[in-house]
């Protein structure tokens, strides 16, 4: 990273307020997306419920990463920790909204870490999962390209 870019990244990190709303992203939990995840992870599929297809809850573990990508440069991709609390099993075909905020930040080993709380909800108003993600992330206040 160029010196000027590093200084801007450092400044953005130090000025990043705890409690910053990261905004939200949305995606459709399509059959294709679910099948791709099942193939990648070789999981035992859940049984259908009430005539609806269910997606494995592990698919929600990446939600925080997709949200973080919208406002942070996570190219260094040092993902230190992840907590996921499952509230409801997602339904295939539903629309998922992921929102979050910064709850902490710290420096360790010369790296700048951000801790984010993330909530995933579906278009039926159900909370699917609450997550907490810790990773190296350089804040981009306006989002977009770093």
């Amino acid at each position: 990273m160029a010196e000027g870019e590093r200084q801007r990244a450092d400044q953005a990190f130090h000025e990043l307020p705890i409690g910053t709303d990261i905004g939200s992203i949305e995606y459709t939990l399509s059959e294709e997306r679910v099948q791709r995840h099942l193939r990648a992870t070789h999981q035992t599929p859940y049984p259908d419920s009430g005539g609806e297809r269910l997606a494995p809850v592990s698919i929600l573990a990446s939600d925080g990463i997709w949200l973080a990508e919208a406002r942070f440069d996570i190219g260094e991709s040092v993902h230190a920790g992840q907590r996921l609390e499952v509230a409801n099993i997602p339904i295939v075909g539903s629309r998922v909204k992921v929102s979050g905020k910064v709850i902490d930040k710290f420096e360790k080993g010369g790296r700048q870490f951000v801790v984010m709380d993330v909530v995933s909800e579906d278009d039926r108003g159900r909370v699917l999962a609450r997550g907490r993600m810790t990773g190296v992330a350089r804040y981009r206040p306006e989002g977009g390209a770093p």
Binding site: A40, Y46, S58, A61, S62, W66, A80, G81, E85, A87
Partner: protein, 143 residues
């Protein structure tokens, strides 16, 4: 047949898989070219080759818990892990778990576990804790 009671110290049936580059690519959004999908990008970042995303292995632990405690235990499960060693294509990753506490609450038990994924080298890929609500009749791999 009634499943045996869950006791502290019980070890879960491990889930073991060889991680392929195809798995790693499928885990990322389609068309994504990053350190998890592309050896050249990974080498440019100082890595020996593409490394799997750490959260990929949370799915192994979720699968292990689901197989052990049944489908009804999925909602209410809390998994909290630290991501440690990188995984390369060709590594064998095994999810393991050990019961550390059982709290009975009526027809439900809250089971706490230490959980981790390890490679064939013995290092921990991810490690942490899980809490699982086990309802009567769910355990022993009922799905």
């Amino acid at each position: 047949m009634t499943p045996p009671p869950i006791e502290v110290g019980d070890e879960l049936e491990p889930v073991s898989r060889v991680v392929t580059l195809e798995d790693m690519v499928l885990f990322e959004p389609e068309g994504e070219k990053n350190i998890h999908t592309d050896d050249e990008v990974a080498r440019a970042a100082g890595l020996p080759a593409a490394i799997a995303a750490g959260v990929q292995f949370m799915s192994y632990i979720f699968d292990m818990l689901h197989r052990e405690y049944g489908f009804q235990s999925v909602e209410g499960t809390v998994l909290d892990v630290r991501i440690r060693e990188p995984v390369l294509a060709g590594d064998t990753v095994t999810a393991r778990g050990r019961v550390t506490e059982v709290k009975a609450d009526g027809a439900e038990a809250r089971v706490s576990l230490e959980v981790w994924c390890e490679t064939q080298r013995g290092g921990h890929v991810i490690a942490g804790t899980a809490q699982v609500p086990v309802r009567a009749g769910d355990a022993a791999g009922a799905t």
